[in-house]
Structure formats: C-alpha cells, structure tokens
C-alpha cells in the first residue's frame, strides 16, 4: 500500500466516525459500558486477591529447636527453610523476644503480673523460627520438610486458617475467570452487532468501491481504523472514570465501615492500573479491530 493511500485510509477512518455520528456514539457507549463493568470487576478481584494474599502472609509456621542446639545449626536450619518453595520470610524469634511478646499480649499494661518471673524466663528454650508463607497451599510440604530437619524439636502450624485461605483464593480465581470470560463474550457480541449495523448501512459504499476495482485491503482499512479508534475511545472513557471513582469508593468504604479498617487493606489505584490500563486498552483496541475486520469480511465478496 502506498503512503498516500495509508494517509487517505486513516483520514477516511476518522471521517467515517464523524459522518456516522449516531453509530459511532452507540459503538463507543457499548464498548465503554462493557469495559467499565470489566474494569470494575477486575479491580474488585485484584483487591480480593490482594487481601487474601496479605492474610496468607500473616500465617506463620513456628519451628522449635532441640534443647541446647548450637547456634551454627540454628542458622543452617534458617537457611534451609528460606530456600523452601512457597516461603516468603523466615524470622528468628529468641526466647527473650518470645517472652516479651507474650507479656505484652497477655499482661498488657499491667507489668506487675510479670514481675514474679523477673529474670527467670519461663519460655527459655522457646527460641524459634517464624516461617511466613507466600503461598499457603504449600504449607504442608514446608511443615514436613521442617520436621525432617536435624535439630528440630517441634513444628506448630494452623491448618484451618491455611486451608480456608487457599480455598478462598481458589474460589476467587475460578469465579473471576468465569465472570471475565462471560463479560468478554457479551462485549464481543454487542460490539460486533453494533459494527454490523454500521457496516450494513454502508453496504452500498463498499459495493461501489468493489465495482471500481478497490482491493479488499483498501476497502477494509478505513473500517478497521474506525473500529480501532472507537475501541480506543470506548476504553479510555471508562478507564478514566474508574480511575477517579476507585479512590472515592475506597475511602467511602473505609469511612463508612470503620471496623473493616483493620481487616481490609486496599490496593492503591496505581497498582490496579499497572495491569488494568494496558489490559483495558488492549481489550478496546482488540475488540474494535477484530469486530470490524471480521464483520466487513463478508461484505467484501462482491
């Protein structure tokens, strides 16, 4: 294709949008509505995943050592645990640390209660590793690995929390895949319908081009450019709307439901948009391209 033809096709694509205002607005609105719902759901799913992931990270396995184990072996155990699959972090908790955290947790402000113990740490020999998981579904493997290590006396774990979290995580993944798939199918159906309507109106124009001797590419190019531009605008509008609505929604939820403040931790909008922006734009452009490319194909057989 000549450069002048590329320029002409691009100009025609934009002119088509302006000429067929109603059709263009209908297409952009359909696309924007679909991508808005998609983006909304996408942001919710991402936050759910984030909250579950945060909760998972809080789940720790506690690894206790045999009495009088040498410090070098303790360090080795730490290294071996760190290399395990699914482990996020391994933290050494000395007997004194354990006692201090026990005191603050159970005696609170009333330090007199603890005074009876004075320098006699009741939790001597309780130094341990707190192993934080990145993926709780791998907890069982890490536990049996830790139990098999020399110098390990006991391993404590929380099965219920880990099982609940990993099944919640699985559920969210399946549900989100299903809903996103349905939304995509609906969007493609709606948009290809709108594009079909637009092209049917211009069937005569396409036929004239073909009678004159236009190649398929020449006929198709302005329509595809039109589809891509409509897709792009149809994606930008909901993405901008969602961007501003996101922050408002998060602060509304947190002020309205104060209690949730400690439980819920929402992703910042920039984190959500690192994924949502390229995915949303690609979706708009992709659907616009595919919709116009394939819809016009059947009209080219003149």
């Amino acid at each position: 294709m000549k450069i002048s033809t590329v320029g002409y096709s691009t100009r025609q694509g934009f002119k088509n949008i302006a000429r067929n205002k109603l059709f263009s607005i209908a297409s952009i609105a359909t696309m924007a509505a679909c991508i808005f719902v998609f983006g909304l759901f996408f942001a919710i799913v991402m936050n759910f995943n984030y909250i579950v992931q945060k909760a998972e990270e809080g789940v720790a396995i506690t690894v206790f050592f045999e009495e009088g184990l040498e410090q070098s072996r303790v360090d080795e155990i730490g290294d071996e645990l760190r290399e395990c699959d699914g482990v996020l972090d391994v933290e050494y908790v000395s007997a004194d640390d354990a006692w201090e955290s026990f005191q603050s947790e159970y005696f609170g402000e009333d330090s007199s209660l603890a005074e009876g113990f004075k320098d006699d740490n009741p939790l001597a020999n309780s130094d341990n590793y707190a192993v934080y998981m990145e993926d709780v579904s791998k907890q069982d493997d890490v536990v049996s690995f830790a139990e098999s290590l020399d110098g390990v006396r006991r391993v404590n774990k929380s099965d219920v929390v880990a099982d609940t979290l990993s099944s919640v995580n699985r559920l969210i993944t399946y549900v989100s895949i299903a809903i996103i798939a349905i939304l995509l199918a609906v969007s493609i159906f709606l948009i290809s319908n709108t594009v079909t309507m637009g092209i049917t109106v211009r069937r005569e124009e396409i036929a004239i081009m073909k009678y004159i001797g236009a190649k398929d590419g020449f006929v198709r190019a302005p329509f595809v450019i039109e589809g891509v531009v409509i897709g792009l605008i149809g994606a930008i509008i909901p993405l901008v709307l969602l961007y501003f609505m996101y922050g408002k929604a998060v602060s509304y939820i947190l002020t309205r439901f104060n209690l949730l403040n400690n439980i819920l931790d929402f992703l910042p909008v920039t984190e959500v948009y690192k994924v949502l922006l390229p995915v949303g734009l690609a979706l708009g452009v992709g659907i616009g391209f595919v919709g116009s490319f394939f819809t016009i194909r059947k009209h080219l057989k003149v």
């Binding site: 294709m1 081009m209 073909k210 398929d216």
Partner: protein
Amino acid sequence: MIELNEVTKEYSKGVAALNGVTLKIEQGEFVFIVGDSGSGKSTLIRLIMKELEPTSGTIVVNGQNLERLKHKQIPMYRRGLGVVFQDFRLLKDRNIYENIAFAQRVVETSPRIIKKKVPAALSLVGLAQKYKSYPKELSGGEQQRVAIARAIVNEPAILLADEPTGNLDPTNSWEIMKLLEEANERGTTVLVVTHNQEIVNEMRKRVVTMKKGVIVSDEQKGGYNNED
C-alpha cells in the same frame, strides 16, 4: 475484447437467467443490449463484471478468462472496466470532486495526478463549475454525468452502462448517450443495456436483442421494438 461462449446462468436449479449465450464484441464497438425486464440483460453485465459466476460456459474479457481469475485478481481486472448504473450509485456524503477522486484513489493514483485528472473528467461531462456540490444538490441527469465522469476518469478499455437513462427524462437521456458516444469515439468499447426504444432506434448502433435469457437478434445498425 468481450467474448461469451455458451454462457448459462441459473440463479436457482432449473431457472436460467441466461441460456447458452454466445456473443463477441470487438474493441472500439458501441453495442446496445436490449430486451424486456427479465430477459437477462443485467445478468449479462454482472457476469462481465465478475460479480456473478456463470453456471456453465466461458467469458473472456481483454484476453482474460474470467473463470481462472482468483478473488485477489478481481480488483485489477475491474480497473479495466468503467461502470455506470441506473441509480447512479454516487457516495452521497461526498461532494462531486471527492466522488470522482475516490475512483482514482481506489486504484492508488498519486495525489498529484488526481488533481489534474478530476477537473479534466468534470469538464468532459460539463460539470466543472459544480465540483463542490453534493449529489443531492444535482438533478438526475447531472448525477448520471458525474457517474460517467467517475467511470471514465481511469480511462478504462470498456465502459458498461446498465440502464443509464432509466431514471432520466428524454433531454437528459440524450445528453448521457452523447457522453457515452464521445467516450466511444475516444476508443473505449461501450456496452449499454437499455430498453429506451427511441434512443436505440435513433443512434443506429449494433443492437443485441435478448428474450428469456437467449439472444434473439444481433444486428449492425439495428433497432428495437419495445413491446412492453
């Protein structure tokens, strides 16, 4: 130039729009194809344009056997043809200049040449002053003149006109026929499908008469007796 050999076209099984038509048109000829509605005239034009495929028989145009033409080669083939329709088929949302320039852009003519050729084509059909007008601002005769300018701007070897005067009054009809004759005088082969008795009888060109899908007469300097 145009050769049809035993061409049959059936739209549905057993109903033939064309039935074993054999016809030869030489370069530079001016030929009228006449006949009643449903005689197969328009089917003939559509077959030559390769808009339709014959059920049997062969069509050779400009030395090309249309049967062997692949889908990709059709645009190049059609660039050798100029087509004029009864309903003008102009792009309503573009002005006259753009309508004619459009035919040139389709065949990827450079913008520099387009700027020269479009005004020349408009002058040929006497509409140089109206290049900014839109089709709806023109009379039927003027619109058909624009369609002819569009058909001849790429200098095709063959001009096909399907009922070009069907929607026009006698004065405009004569103007259109004059333009087609001028194109023929410049060397273009012209094929006109019509049932305008007055024009056919007055112009004394070659007349091919069709009835129910077959050619019933083919006369040099012929006439036409429309029984409708």
